[in-house]
Symmetry: C2
DNA sequence: CCCAAACGAACGATCGTTCGTTTGCTCTCA
DNA sequence: TGAGAGCAAACGAACGATCGTTCGTTTGGG
């Protein structure tokens, strides 16, 4: 029997936390997923909480980088919104467990790490809000509350973690384009 | 010290399941919320699982009735979509804990009751899908995949359980109208 | 005085985690 | 080439805590 890496453990934890929830997953469950005893996981990891923190930090980091890249670009606001949507869909569809755990289990983080994650999430949402506000200012979008608009856009995107299956009828790209169309229509 | 009713227990359970999750809430937590010991809850309730089943069945029932009422109405599809949206927003904003538990914790139901709930949820989504399909057929909405469109609409609505606070800046009605506008724009 | 409600001790199961031991691969050197 | 040392990985028993739940007892309002 071959040996597992720390990365294997993190990946399996992401899978189980995403499908059964953090509190619904025991270390023995996680061990079984890897063909190990629960106690053997402590050769790779300090604690169950550390696993949650690490997974969620990775998730938050992916979205953060994406938002910063798009926000820094030199294109009109409506195009930035489309890019934000496409990138968000791409991140979720190609990192489903990480994204689902980040979006659904962050409330179970220990206090110290939760604050940092909440701040990253707020910054991410602020990027959407500001881009939408610019689009309203330059007339690309109709007059509306940018905070509420950004929440609705993110709602469409984040729900992907709940229903997307790679084996589904439409490809990730097709879904991305459908979401761009829906969101742009909702904003104009 | 006054006495608690079974209804008090169900309501408190909805509140805790919504905020801490089913597996994150112990019977002793729930007792404490009511000023009781965990064991005292069994004067009102058979099991923790029964509480989850009852809360989720109530939630599912509310959405079900709403969809059936709107679907049976004699108005054009685009108006039905607006009514579906308004009613959905109203249900969530006035039954937040019930809705959140229904939408987020249904995966932890015991197998027997989960099947029935999944079927109700599928029927509810089918109502949205069929109304949207009618709207496409009569030219109110642009050509598009009705299944994907209904998922996106419901994504906007269901995310309400995650961010709506009665003390927030906009009233439930204002949010409802903003969502009608966003969704109708996304569909046309 | 009755009876539902609440108590509080206790049950077996499972939780996250620790720790001494065993396993089996890799590297070294005769 | 092969014996053996070193070491990370995995084991498995065990820890105290907490889980959902049971049950005999106490309590207090109608």
């Amino acid at each position: 029997m071959s040996t597992r890496s720390r990365e294997d453990v993190v990946e399996a934890a992401g899978r189980l936390f995403a499908s059964r929830g953090f509190h619904g997953t025991s270390m023995r469950d996680l061990g079984e997923e890897l063909g190990l005893l629960g106690s053997s996981l402590y050769s790779h990891v300090d604690s169950k909480e550390q696993l949650l923190v690490e997974i969620i930090q990775r998730g938050a980091g992916m979205f953060q980088e994406h938002a910063d890249r798009v926000a820094g670009g030199d294109v009109p606001p409506s195009e930035k919104v489309a890019d934000l949507v496409r990138g968000h869909v791409s991140i979720i569809t190609s990192n489903q467990d990480l994204s689902a755990t980040f979006l659904n289990e962050a409330r179970f983080l220990p206090d110290e790490s939760r604050a940092a994650i909440v701040e990253m999430r707020d910054r991410y949402e602020a990027t959407f809000r500001e881009v939408i506000a610019s689009g309203i200012a330059d007339g690309s979008f109709r007059e509306q509350n940018p905070a509420l608009a950004s929440i609705m856009v993110l709602s469409v995107l984040n729900a992907l973690t709940r229903w997307y299956r790679p084996s589904g009828r439409q490809s990730a790209d097709e879904i991305g384009e459908a979401m761009v169309a829906f969101v742009m229509g909702g904003l104009v």
